[in-house]
């Protein structure tokens, strides 16, 4: 009766020994080194010079992500126009993993009569140098803005290779302050491309402008303006410039933040005598007070699910980050490290909390993992503030001091790369990363 069973066991053992013959090796660790990539100058079939060097813009985008290392153009052995012209061996020798080639054709020439600018058609291919084969190819039928097209190409390639949506077509909003010759300061609310280029002014004022935020669809912005000598929260349409005053209560009107569904606006008001977090219904303009504490409660930021907000409070004796349920108002403390943690924001996946953190008297941008007990300083400079997370959760933009000037810095949330955005004249502060805009 038990004999067949025993035979079975022996047989099973045989199988496992046989299976062991196929060597299986586990790889559980790896690096986060940037991947080498080459963006070959796009071939322009038309006459004259183009206003934008598309490949250059794409290469700069890829490099700024921290996940790619674009090959210097001078090091390229050839400049193929399509995958058919590629000698993979050449690129392999250069240590490149991926290759991008493309071409630009004229679709419509610029017309002086109709004053319409020229438009272009673009096509580009992505190749795997090691596997010696094309991965994908794309076409842009007609486009006028070559720089925007270049950022779009960066987004497409980035997503293909990383599995994450690119942020190269997003925008940055920030406040710039320029001291005039007379000593008067001019405050400007500006919006620029994610690479800091092409800034556009949304608002100019001789009184401070503070705490700008984007609406979830990116079409409108909210901010605090001291025009008239008192703070008030305004909403402004980014395209028409039309603006409305949302609040102008006695005391503080500050730190607006749109709910992810766009239906509500969190804000700080001190109309009841003390800075508290309120939520305004954007349709009815009805206010609901969310916090009730004699301490300072400020800097509310919605979590991505819209169910809660993180905020700064000194109710425990020093400024720390707390989380409040948007409905019940139940409050939980999130940070315990150090004696100054403020202006926090949660990452899109809700795993990380990015904040301003003081250590040894210096203010850094830091990240705390909310699931595991991990904490890291992303910056090492001393007066870093106003962190804002990119919509794909990979980067953090912040304000810092460089050569005694307020400038913008960007750092990967995993700390892999850090760079300063091109300096402008005057101070630049309070950067906010836009949501995806297309």
């Amino acid at each position: 009766m038990y004999l067949p069973k025993m035979m079975m066991a022996l047989f099973l053992m045989q199988v496992s020994v046989f299976a062991q013959a196929q060597l299986r090796i586990e790889i559980t660790q790896g690096g986060d080194d940037p991947t080498p990539i080459a963006i070959v100058p796009f071939n322009w079939s038309g006459a004259g010079l183009l206003k934008e060097d598309v490949a250059n813009v794409v290469a700069a985008d890829m490099g700024r992500s921290g996940q790619f290392r674009p090959l210097e153009r001078a090091d390229m052995l050839s400049q193929p126009r399509s995958s058919k012209e590629v000698f993979y061996r050449d690129w392999r020798v250069l240590g490149v993993d991926y290759l991008v080639v493309g071409r630009i054709d004229s679709v419509n020439l610029a017309s002086v009569q109709t004053s319409s600018p020229a438009s272009y058609g673009l096509s580009y291919e992505l190749m795997d140098v090691r596997a010696q084969k094309p991965i994908a190819s794309w076409k842009i039928a007609e486009v006028k803005d070559l720089r925007a097209a270049a950022h779009h190409i960066s987004d497409t390639i980035y997503q293909k290779l990383t599995g994450l949506r690119g942020i190269f077509s997003t925008k940055l909003m920030y406040v710039s302050v320029v001291q005039q010759g007379s000593g008067e300061k001019v405050y400007k609310l500006e919006v620029a491309d994610a690479d800091g280029q092409r800034p556009r002014t949304l608002l100019e004022s001789s009184e401070p402008i503070m705490s700008p935020v984007w609406s979830p669809d990116g079409k409108r912005v909210a901010y605090v303006s001291f025009a008239g000598g008192r703070p008030a929260i305004y909403i402004q349409n980014r395209f028409t410039g039309k603006r409305i005053k949302l609040t102008g209560f006695p005391g503080i009107n500050g730190a607006p933040d749109w709910s992810p569904d766009g239906q509500k606006m969190a804000m700080v008001l001190s109309k009841d005598g003390n800075p508290e977090i309120y939520i305004m219904d954007m349709k009815t303009r009805a206010l609901r007070r969310l916090t009730h504490h004699y301490a300072i409660d400020t800097e509310p930021r919605w979590t991505k699910d819209g169910a809660a907000l993180v905020f700064t409070s000194n109710r425990g004796g020093s400024p720390q980050i707390y989380k409040v349920d948007a409905l019940s108002g139940r409050v939980v403390r999130l940070t315990f490290r150090g004696s100054y943690n403020a202006r926090a924001q949660t990452s899109p996946d809700g795993h990380d909390l990015v904040m301003v953190h003081r250590e040894n008297g210096q203010f850094h941008i830091s990240v705390q993992n909310l699931q595991r007990d991990l904490f890291a300083n992303l910056t090492k400079t001393s007066l870093d503030e106003s962190p804002s997370i990119s919509p794909n959760g990979s980067m953090v933009i912040y304000a810092t001091q460089h050569k005694n000037m307020g400038v913008l810095g960007a750092v990967a949330i995993n700390g892999s790369i850090k760079y300063l955005l091109p300096a402008r004249h005057g101070e630049v502060r309070e950067p906010v990363w836009s949501p995806y805009l297309n």
């Binding site: 401070p208 503070m210 705490s211 001291f226 000598g229 008192r230 703070p231 005391g251 503080i252 500050g254 730190a255 700080v268 001190s270 800075p275 300072i296 400020t298 800097e299 700064t312 020093s318 400024p319 100054y340 403020a342 202006r343 301003v356 003081r358 203010f363 001393s382 007066l383 503030e385 106003s386 001091q401 005694n404 502060r429 309070e430």
Partner: protein, 178 residues
């Protein structure tokens, strides 16, 4: 600019105060206090030095002293604190007396913070400071409708440096006669 003109009426007192206070220029509370004290204590002593000036009566000296106190319109705070320093009490008392005897006068208290820390938190901190000064004036007989408070946080520093010297001057409440 507005502040400059509104304070112009105290110019004479200011000049006197500054002369007597010596070359102390750091506007810390200690300096303010010393200046005020010297006006009173050295009133008679200084007469010999003033060749053009006639001998002043006690009343005139008291009035001048009060004027000197009223010329002090900036109050400083410690880092992350919103507590009025005790050495500011005399000056604030002088303002309280002036305001309660001149009900038509009105002031604006502007709270400020240094650049360290986050901007919105500093707005809250600036408001706390303005309210602390407001409270002092209210308990000393000033009517609530004579006072308006606003906080600028770290948005309007008087000093642009990134050092303790600059920060100390930026952590302040400015009292502005309207």
């Amino acid at each position: 600019m507005k502040k400059m003109t509104s304070n112009a009426k105290f110019l004479a007192a200011l000049v006197l105060g500054a002369t007597l206070a010596g070359c102390q220029s750091q506007p810390t509370e200690e300096a303010v206090d010393t200046a005020a004290a010297e006006v009173i204590e050295s009133g008679t002593h200084e007469v010999s030095g003033m060749t053009d000036s006639a001998v002043k009566s006690q009343e005139e000296l008291a009035a001048e002293a009060a004027q000197a106190l009223l010329a002090m319109t900036v109050f400083y705070f410690d880092f992350d604190q919103a507590i009025v320093k005790t050495d500011a009490y005399d000056v604030l008392q002088a303002h309280a007396t002036f305001l309660s005897t001149n009900p038509a006068a009105a002031i604006r208290l502007e709270g400020h913070a240094d650049e360290r820390g986050t901007r919105e938190y500093n707005i809250a901190l600036g408001e706390r400071r303005a309210k602390a000064v407001e409270k002092f004036l209210l308990v000393n007989g000033v009517s609530a409708d004579q006072i308006e408070t606003v906080s600028y946080g770290e948005e309007r520093p008087v000093e642009g440096g990134h050092d303790e010297g600059s920060w100390a001057k930026n952590r302040r409440v400015e009292l502005v006669y309207k």
